[in-house]
């Protein structure tokens, strides 16, 4: 029971901090932070499955996040019929060419023995395939990108409900992880980190520059939402009544009717944004709770014990007849799929897909800091890490600004040092995160909420 006290205390402090933001800044900001905390929590659950359960270091989180985001575009956006008409055939042909290349390479690999000739023939098949691909794709891509380039210029999606894309995002990320796992999982830990980081960069650069796919750096805006729109809320009767009911004590203090109406309008506008964010919070919270239950069950199942056995001593586990390669691949796919889900959730929350914003700093390293700080191998810890680090990441700048003002208040307004420090307040978040990580690594390497070993 004592173990749970720590968990409860840590989470209550976190909720209290978010409520403080609500009181001092605004409820809308607090809910935005909370939503992002929940998304980060999903990402850390994914990373924690890989690192905490199995000891696999995956610095490619950025790539899976981006792929999850891409899934939202591919699933929920209405198809651009004209683009399909002018260039769809070429793109479909390209897919067949890729499939053909894969089959030919597989055929050569299976049919012939290892030799220089085999390597050269595989290389020439791939090179020839790429040239064929470019020749086939070029006219199609050009045609697609010239269809109303200011608004579309891409193939569009399937026009399905946006929630469906979360599943697709997970599937896409999982299948990518299957390929990467096949390639890279044999590497030693730090090489695996570098290799996954670089592969993720390749994926992001493809998403960024293939404009026919998802408009690339031109971004896709106005994505579908699983929650109501603010504008619709502000005009619907029941919502205005609800807001009036909630704030009746405040409204009763105002005497004149016109003032009352104005105050009510303002309240409705504020409340509509809070309401929409609450809808998202509800959705995200459901996802986090489901994931938490499933991962918790998995961790203490025979399967979880097997994973930890493999993590702690590969040779021994292998000697006991466990298939390490297979288990590593499986856990790599599972973790990446969850990260892909988080990527889809994030794009849904933002309502826009901006491939240019996927940078390793924000989407790989910060997520890793979350896992390490929270507690590796413990799901509650990982989620808490997501909350704490995201909160610091967002609130470090205002807090730094406050402290700078406090400590330099004796200096005149125009003092060069003071001006410079105030200008560089946003960068204190890197300092806080970095020093936090170093301190945790040094003095509490198991994280805030350490892994719990149940003796059976």
């Amino acid at each position: 029971m004592r173990n749970y006290k720590n968990v409860i205390a840590a989470y209550s402090i976190m909720i209290f901090l978010i409520i403080l933001v609500g009181i001092f800044q605004s409820w809308s900001i607090a809910l935005t932070i909370l939503n992002y905390c929940l998304i980060s929590a999903v990402m850390t659950i994914g990373a924690n499955i890989q690192w905490g359960y199995a000891g696999l270091i995956n610095f490619g989180i950025m790539g899976y996040t981006a792929l999850g985001g891409l899934a939202v575009v591919l699933v929920s956006v209405e198809p651009v019929k004209k683009a399909w008409q002018v260039g769809g055939l070429n793109i479909l042909a390209c897919i067949w060419i890729i499939v053909a290349i894969i089959f030919v390479v597989k055929f050569i690999l299976n049919r012939f023995d290892k030799s220089k000739l085999r390597n050269y023939s595989i290389a020439s098949v791939i090179l020839g395939g790429i040239i064929l691909l470019r020749v086939t794709a070029a006219p199609g891509i050009e045609a697609i990108e010239s269809v109303d380039p200011a608004r579309t210029g891409f193939l569009g999606g399937m026009g399905l409900p946006v929630l469906f894309s979360w599943i697709v995002g997970a599937l896409l990320a999982g299948s990518l992880a299957f390929i990467i796992g096949k390639i890279a999982l044999g590497l030693r830990a730090d090489y695996l980190a570098i290799a996954t980081l670089l592969i993720a960069e390749i994926i992001v650069s493809i998403i960024k520059h293939e404009e026919w796919l998802a408009r690339g750096v031109k971004n896709v805006i106005g994505l579908k939402r699983p929650a109501p729109y603010e504008i619709n809320l502000q005009t619907s009767e029941w919502f205005i009544d609800l807001v009036a009911k909630f704030n009746s004590s405040k409204l009763n203090l105002i005497n004149s009717i016109s003032d009352k109406q104005e105050a009510l309008n303002q309240m409705v506008i504020d409340a509509s944004s809070v309401y929409v964010k609450l809808c998202f919070t509800g959705l995200f919270l459901t996802v986090v709770i489901i994931l938490l239950i499933v991962t918790q069950k998995a961790l203490y199942s025979p399967w979880g014990r097997k994973m930890r056995a493999i993590r702690d001593n590969e040779e021994a586990a292998s000697a006991m007849g466990k298939n390490i390669v297979k288990e590593h691949l499986l856990i790599f796919i599972l973790g990446s799929a969850i990260v892909g889900l988080a990527g889809a959730m994030m794009v849904t929350n933002d309502g826009l897909f901006t491939p240019g914003s996927y940078r390793p700093m924000r989407y790989t390293f910060v997520i890793w800091v979350m896992v390490i700080v929270g507690g590796t191998g413990n799901n509650f810890g990982a989620i808490l890490g997501g909350f704490v680090v995201w909160f610091l990441w967002v609130e470090a700048a205002p807090i730094a600004l406050f402290l700078i003002n406090l400590f330099t208040s004796h200096l005149p307004e125009t003092n060069a040092v003071r001006v410079h420090l105030i200008e560089s307040a946003p960068y204190f978040r890197f300092l806080v995160i970095g020093i936090g990580l170093l301190l945790i690594m040094r003095y509490r390497p198991q994280g805030i909420i350490p892994e719990k070993i149940i003796k059976q």
Binding site: I57, I183, A184, D190, Y191, L198, L431, G434, L438, M441
Partner: protein, 336 residues
Amino acid sequence: MDFLNAIIVLFNFTVIPALAYGSQLALGAIFVTLIYAVLRFANFATGDMMSFGTMFAVILTYYFQSLGFGLGVLPTALLTIPFAILMMILYMLIIDKFVFSYYRIKKSPPVQFAMVSVGVMFVTQALIRIIIGPSDRRFLDGEKFIIKATEFKEMTGLAEGITLKSTQAITIVVTLIVVSIMFWFLNRTKTGTSMRAYSDNEDLALLSGIDPKRVVLITWVIAGILATIGGVLYGLDKSYRPFVYFNNMLPIFAAAIVGGIGNPFGAFLGGYVIAFAEIFVTYAYKRFISYLLPEHLEPDSLLQLLSTDYKFAVSFSILVIVLLIRPSGIFKGKVI
């Protein structure tokens, strides 16, 4: 004549930029490889450490310019490099004392080292942004070109010209000097030999009386020199933007691993392999081919294998292929 023109086009647009870029990568890759060989971890703070050293060079350059010091035709930054190196080494030693040495004594696994270096990366990045800010800075002064295209055309009477920027020449020359001194040091002096012994087998090296503290110190000193010079040369050639240095870390890693991690000479060549591959794959060969073929065969398309957007992706793909086929790197480094 057409053949000569074709060669010059290729030389001007691929070979010269690739040599300069490759030199910058090579310095960084040797830095990564040295840290890996002696201290045994992948340093994710590489890019930001290079940026940190360059930051001092930039600040000192501005200071010297305000004092009126300069080297005439050469950039003032060359004058500031020794001071920047000193600051860089000091910073690295402080970091080592307060961060890395603890894990070295504990003999932590390399993964933990890598995570710690991520922490150092965050802190370094924050310091850079707080001290100098994230904006783009040019600190090149002195003569910009050694040979201009128009001059070259007049001199030779050819249709195509060669442009040689002074920064490119400086980069290549300085790199060659630094790298040859470093290899002389590693292979010929006693300290260098002791470093290599420590890298090959730590226990055996300790038994034969090599002082590990000294080896670590010397490694950081060399690392500081390489990081600062590599960073400054890149900054002179392109421009100084803290963010770009972080991105450059990735091709640098690729170069170090392709060359065989832990093998300095491999890393040196790996830098050029990556740079040439990036530029040759993304170069549009239309102009080159049009000189070689008769007029009616002239190609319509750009004849580009991949668009320049995929420059980085090329080097990463090379890395993936190398890891798949020959994980110890082209020039045999430590076995993974």
